[in-house]
């Protein structure tokens, strides 16, 4: 409504020009990179690190201190950090830059779930010739498998999100329930909590595909696959996801679980006023919650995810990101060294963990007492970091992604997400989502397995 002064013709033009910016000039399937195909020697690396260079680094993490460490170690290299507001903004800008073939950074932070979408367009540099594959042993196995796929190492892991339960011990106590060990217990506890305290045991948002995918993963499903070329697999409408949504459907229809969209104002308030008795969340959740629900300090505890069978101990990963070198970078060696340093140097990774609250991916930091021994008063003095570090080892290693997770996300919102919000038929919505994904994949020229 702001653009009132334009004529009728301009109306169309304005909407169009938005699309134009992104369209740039032509497609950019092939990249003209000075990339190495054979191994880069140490001498070459040393020479490069002694050459005055400026690197552009896009990230949504306030990462200045870690950059300082890097620049101290390699004084010839200057890093120009560009902070984008959040992941989704960064992807939009990055794709626009890639299409325009202009202003593409040397290094960019990319979530694990989006790596295939950038390798599909050949936008990432394979780090193998630079020594990327040798870093494998430093990182948690399940996480490393997210960056090394289809014959290449596409990024260096930065943070991860093993999932556990944060719960209000006071509400649970009032209802007379322990933190539930199985999903069956969880349902029974939900009943008690609702009748005794009026709170919902938890909230299932209709706008958070990654959370649902984590539940699917924990139950043993891997609904997506991609072979790195032209074949994708989509099986969201299959037995395990059906079981999972059927379970939630039951809790929703009984009014035991709320379905507020998350990361909204109403949801923040719900957390701080005890509307939800727990939040099933990833390792990046505790610090976030601490900031959001300050008034409930000391009332929260952490426990593992409920299990599908008694005696099991399986978690899933939700979120997390890596630093990738863009294929067009004119300084691939220096760019690789930056990604490697930020996410591998012990001082830098510890800083990322303790100051930026990025949950570590290196085995060393996960075992570092300077990280694990921290006691959080918000969680009644529990060693939350240590708890999540232990969960890391139990994460199901079945998560794979489609090369078009943006679409997966928006079509989730329109189908399954909408059904969750509207308390509709979740299983039918799963079928609808499946159809949308398959249609889109075919339309984009993929073979659907």
């Amino acid at each position: 409504m702001r653009r009132l002064r334009t004529s009728a013709m301009a109306a169309g033009a304005l909407a169009l020009s938005v699309t134009l910016v992104a369209a740039g000039c032509g497609s950019s399937k092939d990249t003209d990179k000075p990339a190495a195909s054979k191994a880069v020697s140490q001498a070459e690396i040393d020479a490069a690190m002694d050459t005055p260079t400026t690197l552009d680094f896009w990230t949504w993490v306030p990462i200045k201190d870690e950059i300082k460490l890097f620049e101290q170690k390699y004084p010839k290299i200057k890093v120009n950090v560009i902070n984008n507001a959040d992941a989704s903004q960064q992807y939009v800008k990055l794709r626009a830059a890639l299409k325009a073939r202009k202003g593409v950074p040397d290094v960019a932070q990319i979530g694990y779930d989006r790596i295939p979408s950038f390798t599909q367009t050949k936008s990432l540099l394979d780090l193998t010739p630079y020594g990327g594959a040798n870093l494998k042993s430093q990182y948690v196995e399940g996480i490393w498998s997210q960056v090394e796929q289809n014959g290449g190492v596409w990024a260096i892991p930065q943070d991860s999100g093993p999932v556990a339960t944060l719960y209000r011990n006071d509400i649970f106590k009032k209802a007379g329930v322990e933190s539930p060990k199985t999903w069956a217990n969880f349902g029974a506890a939900a009943q008690k909590i609702k009748s005794q305290t009026g709170a919902y045991i938890t909230n299932l948002p209709g706008n958070d595909m990654p959370q649902l995918l984590a539940y699917f993963s924990q139950a043993g499903a891997s609904p997506f696959s991609y072979d790195g070329k032209q074949t994708v697999g989509v099986s969201v409408d299959s037995e395990i996801p059906q079981k999972v949504v059927g379970y939630w459907q039951d809790l929703i229809s009984k009014g035991l679980v709320s379905t507020d969209p998350d990361f909204t104002d109403a949801w923040y308030q719900g957390l701080s006023r005890g509307k939800y008795a727990s939040w099933l969340t990833a390792a990046w959740g505790p610090v976030f919650l601490q900031g959001t629900a300050k008034n409930t300090s000391g009332k929260w505890s952490v426990a593992g995810l409920p299990q599908w069978a008694a005696g099991q101990n399986v978690s899933a990963n939700w979120g997390g990101s890596s630093d990738a070198v863009m294929a067009g970078s004119q300084h691939p060696i220096q760019a690789y060294m930056l990604a490697k340093f930020i996410n591998g140097d012990p001082a830098s990774t510890l800083k990322l963990a303790n100051d930026q609250f990025l949950f570590p991916t290196t085995k060393a930091t996960l075992a570092d007492p300077k990280f694990t021994d921290a006691k959080a008063p918000f969680y009644g003095g529990q060693q939350v970091n240590k708890f999540f570090a232990d969960v890391t080892g139990t994460v199901a290693q079945n998560q794979q992604w489609l090369p078009f997770m943006d679409y997966a996300n928006s079509s989730f919102d329109e189908t399954l997400g909408k059904a969750i919000s509207d308390h509709g038929d979740l299983k039918a919505a799963l079928t609808a989502w499946q159809k949308k994904l398959v249609d889109y994949a075919k339309q984009q020229g993929f073979t659907v397995k």
């Binding site: 009728a8 909407a15 090369p403 329109e414």
Partner: protein, 291 residues
């Protein structure tokens, strides 16, 4: 003489033409060009003629958005302009004490960026703890959910009214000020009261200004974007990605990465706006012709 004049005219017009071509014709042409292709993640770009347009015409998401903006147009615009006209007439009658201050106050919302306005209203609407909910709770009543799928269109109308009543009021008020005083004097001499003057002199004189605000509002309605785009963050389950055609084109371009399809949607939208605007203009002119 004449040739010289023509040359001067061209020289004066050229800067405009250059800018107009560079920032209007070329992008428009390029968009039209883009909309004729289909870009696939596998296989790249191929020429596809009018496929994108056919697809858009069969796309329920596009039509759902269209339906919403048409409802918006039919409900919100009359309410908004009704208020604007009433306020302009009231201020112009000179009977409002502190008219200047009132005028400023009514106009101020227009000066608030729509982003800020939407966020502010978003907080007021807040489902669990918003001000409106709190007031209802205090009064012991059930608070309506103003951010549900069924109410959010109305909530958006309210925001846009709040933003633009003042703006339209100023346009109309300015038009009223151009009516020569003699006419009023003559009317008063003839014994017409304020009501009669308003109905018989001011409103007819306002016709062109009203038509202008109507056209602006039609375009504005079809282009609705900022408000739903921001409300999406506050109530993602109520505002989908296809709430308005503009928002849909944006999401298709940047979330689904189908830039060609987005260009086609934008073009269709532009055409619809043109047709509706012209239709309104022609209808109004026909009626305006003296019998």
């Amino acid at each position: 003489m004449r040739a010289g004049q023509t040359r001067t005219a061209w020289i004066l017009v050229i800067p405009f033409l250059v800018v107009f071509t560079a920032f209007f014709i070329v992008p428009l042409g390029y968009s039209a060009y883009l909309s004729m292709f289909t870009s696939k993640l596998v296989g790249g770009e191929v020429f596809s003629g009018f496929d994108n347009y056919t697809r858009a015409l069969h796309d329920p998401a596009f039509w759902a958005g269209m339906r919403r903006v048409v409802i918006f147009l039919l409900v919100q615009v009359p309410i908004m302009l009704g208020f604007s006209i009433a306020l302009a007439l009231a201020l112009d009658s000179g009977r409002v004490r502190g008219g200047r201050v009132v005028r400023m106050l009514i106009f101020v919302p227009y000066a608030v960026p729509s982003v800020v306005a939407t966020l502010m209203w978003g907080y007021l609407y807040g489902v669990d703890n918003g001000l409106i909910t709190q007031l209802f709770d205090k009064a012991g009543l059930d608070a309506p959910n103003l951010l549900s799928e069924h109410t959010v269109l109305g909530s958006t109308m309210n925001i846009v009214c709040w933003e633009f009543i003042g703006y339209n009021m100023i346009v109309l008020y300015a038009a009223l000020r151009t009516i020569p005083n003699e006419i009023y004097e003559a009317a008063e001499v003839d014994g017409a009261g304020q009501w009669r003057i308003a109905l018989r002199i001011k409103l007819p004189a306002l016709r062109p200004a009203i038509l202008l605000t109507v056209i602006f509002s039609i375009i504005g309605s079809f282009q609705l974007f900022n408000e739903p785009n921001l409300l999406f963050n506050i109530a993602p389950d109520a505002v989908g990605t296809d709430f308005t055609p503009n928002l849909y084109a944006y999401n298709v371009a940047f979330k689904n990465q189908e830039i060609n399809y987005a260009a086609a949607i934008a073009f269709l939208l532009g055409m619809v706006i043109m047709i509706v605007s012209f239709a309104v203009q022609i209808a109004a002119n026909r009626k305006g012709r003296p019998a």
